[in-house]
């Protein structure tokens, strides 16, 4: 909840500032104390909150799935194994439906990681916006954003990794020449080479950018709405009650977005990798 001293503007700004570690204006290294300071740190700074929560959730995911994989049985599965199997089966079906590039041991585990990890990160949005930052504040941490996917660095980091994989598989399947040829001689043939390069180049770059920004935009907007609803709590009991219902409604609706965005990110990853495996003629 916003403390008395904060205006709405400051409250929102506070909620949208990462816990940033980098070089401070005085030359030393440490956490930024304000949004301006964080921005001034430039590229050589790191969002500790984003890293902490994403790695925490990633490890949680892998720990859970690994604990099942270690004592997996082809006989009667337990409850957790049942859930894990259902997830794996779901991912496997999606991959088989969208990916036609032959045998590839990377795509399916990649899709599983993408899906579960993003779902977990997105779900952080459903924790009331003030809980963890207040807790962190009580522990002396000034800023905290708990939804890693509402940080463009996180989504872009994943999207760029996918982008590298796209280029890697394009070159692996078609060779360097084939890949460059694909960029240069389509769709207008040899004579339209500059236009081809421009179009295909944009097409290629658009893949990771759209992948990253779609997820980021959805989660950022969702978080923003939660913050705005949270503002109502400091505007009297009537608006506060109204805000409680709004938050409930938005949270329920947001579950849909959480799953949907994770699914879209996963499906597009599969589709892009599938396209990287296809020979264009």
């Amino acid at each position: 909840m916003a403390s008395e001293a904060l205006t709405s503007n400051e409250y929102i700004k506070h909620h949208l500032t990462h816990l940033t570690y980098g070089q401070l204006p005085d030359g030393g290294w440490g956490f930024a104390h304000s949004a301006e300071q964080a921005t001034q740190m430039g590229f050589w700074a790191i969002h500790v909150d984003t890293m902490f929560f994403s790695v925490l959730l990633g490890v949680l995911f892998l720990w859970m799935f690994r604990s099942v994989a270690k004592r997996v049985t082809s006989g009667q599965p337990g409850k957790l194994q049942n859930f894990v199997e259902w997830t794996v089966e779901f991912i496997n079906t999606s991959v088989r439906g969208s990916f036609s590039g032959g045998k590839n041991d990377v795509v399916a585990p990649l899709s599983l990681t993408v899906f579960i990890w993003i779902v977990l990160m997105n779900l952080m949005d459903l924790i009331p916006v003030d809980w963890l930052p207040s807790l962190a504040g009580a522990l002396g941490v000034g800023h905290l954003r708990v939804v890693p996917t509402a940080d463009v660095n996180a989504t872009l980091g994943m999207a760029i990794t996918v982008f590298y994989l796209i280029i890697y598989y394009s070159i692996k399947i078609k060779g360097v020449g084939g890949f460059i040829g694909e960029l240069s001689f389509q769709p207008f043939g040899k004579l339209g080479l500059p236009a081809n390069l421009l179009l295909e180049g944009i097409n290629l770059i658009a893949k990771p950018v759209s992948l990253a920004l779609r997820l980021f935009g959805n989660m950022y907007a969702g978080e923003m709405i939660f913050i705005l609803i949270a503002l109502l709590y400091s505007a009297g009991w009537a608006l506060g009650t109204f805000g409680a219902f709004l938050q409930l409604g938005w949270a329920i609706f947001h579950i849909l977005i959480v799953m949907l965005q994770a699914f879209i990110f996963m499906t597009l990853t599969i589709v892009y990798l599938d396209m990287a495996h296809q020979e264009h003629h």
């Binding site: 940033t20 980098g22 964080a38 921005t39 740190m41 430039g42 590229f43 050589w44 700074a45 790191i46 969002h47 984003t50 890293m51 994403s54 790695v55 990633g58 995911f61 892998l62 799935f65 690994r66 099942v68 994989a69 270690k70 997996v72 049985t73 082809s74 006989g75 894990v84 199997e85 794996v88 089966e89 496997n92 041991d105 990377v106 399916a108 585990p109 990649l110 599983l112 990681t113 990890w117 890693p148 940080d151 463009v152 660095n153 996180a154 872009l156 980091g157 994943m158 760029i160 990794t161």
Partner: protein, 156 residues
């Protein structure tokens, strides 16, 4: 929107997670799923085979039962035949035994008759002698006439 080192950190952790998932999570789970699929398929096949075998066994059982019934009927027939034979045999034996008994009885009766005749003869002689004695009380010498009477008895 400040792009910074977090981007690279995220890429690295993402790659690490994918690598871990690919090495240690995905293969065992998928292997277990495949194995279960195979086991279920095997189980279904085995069930079908079992059913087939059961049908065969039922057929075989029916055949065996049929043969057994036939054999039983045969044995029963033989037994009946043998029984009839035995009955016939014993009837024959009984008849001959009866005849033998009758024969023996008849012989005994004949003997009895003869003995009775003998006795009668001797008694008749005695009675005749007694009668003659009474009739011829005085003048008769029993000694002299008993020879004549013996001759007489022998002639009867």
């Amino acid at each position: 929107m400040d792009i910074n080192l977090t981007l690279i950190g995220q890429s690295i952790s993402f790659l690490a997670f994918v690598w871990f998932c690919m090495k240690f999570v995905w293969p065992p789970i998928v292997a277990a799923l495949d194995e279960r699929t195979k086991r279920i398929a095997d189980g279904l096949a085995a069930a079908e085979r079992g059913q087939h075998e059961q049908e065969l066994a039922e057929k075989r059982a029916a055949e065996t039962l049929h043969a057994a019934k036939q054999q039983a009927a045969e044995i029963l027939g033989q037994a009946q035949k043998r029984a009839n034979e035995i009955v016939e045999e014993s009837k024959g034996e009984a008849r001959s035994e009866g005849e033998r008994l009758i024969e023996a009885a008849r012989a005994e009766i004949d003997q009895e008759i003869n003995r009775a005749k003998e006795q009668l003869r001797s008694q008749v002689a005695a009675i005749a002698v007694a009668g003659a004695e009474r009739v011829l009380k005085r003048e008769i010498d029993a000694q002299a006439h008993s020879d004549i009477l013996s001759d007489l008895v022998a002639q009867i």
